[in-house]
């Protein structure tokens, strides 16, 4: 086993859980490396181990189970927690948990925390701050592209990554880029406007 796929579905489908756990434990669990005597014990899937996550430029050590999703690690295991990404569907449908792994948007509810180790994780908090927003965050505020705001971190993250690759998109392209994010308030028109405005702003 050489490389893990970061999709939880494929992960569970493609390999036996116990086998995968053993392989991951060998590669990524820093605790196992720190204590060589633990190699004498059988590698089991249960229990917690330490994983180092690179979150918004900071190396953060977190205690997780092999099955802990990246989303849960960020929200419930890190101290202080990273609560920008939201848990809504927990099945890769709604996009509220979107984060960037190595600049690529992914559903963090479908990524295991251990599979995100040693990768660059960027959440909405890492894109900008209220005082120093990135172009997309500023455009969301300016265009009033949010109501309850629960889906906003996901949209902002998705659009920020998209505009980096496609700096001058059409409306249809923005819509296509946002197809993995749901907004129950229904602010889609404003979201698309904000994306287009952010693109324009970045070009200027």
């Amino acid at each position: 086993m050489t490389k893990h796929d970061s999709s939880r579905r494929k992960f569970l489908k493609g390999v036996g859980i116990a086998g995968a756990g053993a392989a991951i434990a060998d590669q990524l669990w820093t605790e196992a490396e720190a204590k060589p005597e633990s190699q004498a014990k059988p590698n089991v899937m249960s229990g917690e181990g330490k994983v180092v996550l690179n979150v918004n430029g900071e190396q953060r050590t977190v205690q997780v189970e092999p099955r802990t999703t990246l989303l849960n690690a960020l929200r419930n295991h890190l101290e202080p927690a990273v609560t920008g990404p939201k848990l809504v569907c927990d099945m890769g449908t709604c996009g509220a948990c979107t984060v960037l792994i190595d600049d690529k948007p992914v559903y963090s509810c479908l990524v295991l925390a251990i599979d995100a180790a040693n990768k660059k994780i960027t959440t909405v908090e890492g894109l900008g701050t209220p005082d120093k927003p990135n172009a997309v965050q500023a455009a969301f505020v300016e265009q009033d592209a949010l109501m309850c705001g629960f889906c906003t971190p996901g949209f902002v993250t998705t659009i920020s990554a998209y505009l980096k690759k496609h700096p001058n998109p059409s409306l249809d392209e923005v819509r296509e880029a946002c197809k993995g994010n749901f907004c129950r308030c229904g602010t889609y028109p404003r979201v698309f406007e904000a994306a287009l405005a952010a693109a324009k702003q970045s070009q200027a």
């Binding site: 929200r75 609560t83 900008g128 906003t152």
Partner: protein
């Protein structure tokens, strides 16, 4: 008898105003024509303090940066996470709820059976588990052994009003006048 031609009313004076319209999914300002005397007069736009001014919402910057704290984002010391075990049958009764194995899982703190004796829809709550993590709460749910007495059900309204149809509530008939 031919009707007397009415003198046509002189056309009302019109004015053009710009209003927001959603066109092809995107809000745009479009120009429409309205009666000169339509709508209340608010005075010239540049004399207003708030009206006709672009206002950004106060919670926008925090929400767009992911820093707005929702109730859901709170994490308190000793906080437990709940999961609910739900009935897979449209109509059933729980004859046995075995929580022994579930309660033995480290981290499972409490299991509360639903007070209902009869379950009337698929998804009706059967028991709730409180545990130290969401994952362990899920373990607790899966470790509960439920024995159901599956009862008959119908899907269509027409079947529900037939004589002898399964009763939604035992003491009451399904159809009332």
């Amino acid at each position: 008898m031919p009707q007397q031609a009415q003198p046509s009313p002189s056309p009302k004076p019109k004015k053009k105003i710009r209003v927001p319209r959603v066109v092809n999914g995107v809000e745009q300002m479009v120009e429409i024509e309205v009666d000169e005397d339509s709508g209340p007069g608010w005075g010239p736009n540049d004399k207003h303090k708030l009206l006709n001014k672009r206002m950004t919402r106060v919670d926008g910057p925090l929400k767009a940066a992911g820093l707005a704290r929702y109730t859901y984002d709170q994490r308190l010391p000793g906080m437990l996470y709940g999961r609910i075990l739900r009935c897979p049958h449209a109509h059933a009764r729980v004859t046995k709820l075995d929580t022994d194995a579930a309660l033995k899982i480290p981290g499972v703190k409490a299991i509360v059976p639903a007070p209902l004796t009869e379950l009337r829809y698929a998804g009706a709550p059967v028991a709730a588990v409180a545990a130290t993590t969401p994952e362990i709460a899920g373990d607790g749910i899966r470790a509960i052994k439920v024995t159901y007495e599956v009862l008959p059900h119908v899907v269509h309204a027409a079947d529900a009003v037939k004589p002898g149809a399964p009763q939604v509530i035992a003491e009451e008939i399904n159809l009332k006048d």
